[in-house]
Amino acid sequence: AQSVAQPEDQVNVAEGNPLTVKCTYSVSGNPYLFWYVQYPNRGLQFLLKYITGDNLVKGSYGFEAEFNKSQTSFHLKKPSALVSDSALYFCAVSLLGSGTYKYIFGTGTRLKVLA
């Protein structure tokens, strides 16, 4: 079955420290990969995506992610965390099927940045 795994329910990091939120996927073919962020009582907001090309992609708010095909991973990173980065983060893959693309989301990782 095609799936996306986010192995950590919660990640705690001190403000100013680097952060990593992990994501691995198990899909057939070449997926498109995404990261989204959800703040309390809000919808999901797009952060960044990997379609093709450079394995390191940069996105909004200073976030970046590295696509690793051999490890089937797409970890989200930021060099210096801010308290305002505290939110729920979702990794997703987009797969072509039945003539359109279907997004499969991971279970989400809650990021808590401590002041």
Binding site: K49, I51, S94, L96, S98, T100, Y101, Y103, T107, G108
Partner: protein, 111 residues
């Protein structure tokens, strides 16, 4: 202007009632979705429409019926509401294969 808007934002209703949630996108996207987010924050796709045509219909009870009058709208009608239907429902749109844009969500509470 809000790219993907859904109404209402909150919906509290009794078991057995029928209710609808409306969604509109002004991005010109061809594909629209409904997702359900449960109390554990898991996001699960329910339906996907492409140019008004149903493409994806996950294992969702028949009580849930999506309707797309045009490609800018995808409404969700729910019959005979049950306690387990309580969740946050998100509408989204995309122009494949790019990122999806999400609405603010509708928090449905069935009492």
């Amino acid at each position: 202007d809000t790219a993907v808007s859904q109404t209402p934002k909150y919906l509290v209703t009794q078991m057995g009632n029928d209710k609808s949630i409306k969604c509109e996108q002004n991005l010109g996207h061809d594909t629209m979705y409904w997702y359900k987010q449960d109390s554990k924050k898991f996001l699960k796709i329910m339906f996907s429409y492409n140019n008004k045509e149903l493409i994806i219909n996950e294992t969702v009870p028949n009580r849930f019926s999506p309707k797309s009058p045009d490609k800018a709208h995808l409404n969700l009608h729910i019959n005979s509401l049950e306690l387990g239907d309580s969740a946050v429902y998100f509408c989204a749109s995309s122009q494949d294969p790019s990122e999806a844009f999400f609405g603010q969500g509708t928090r449905l509470t069935v009492v």
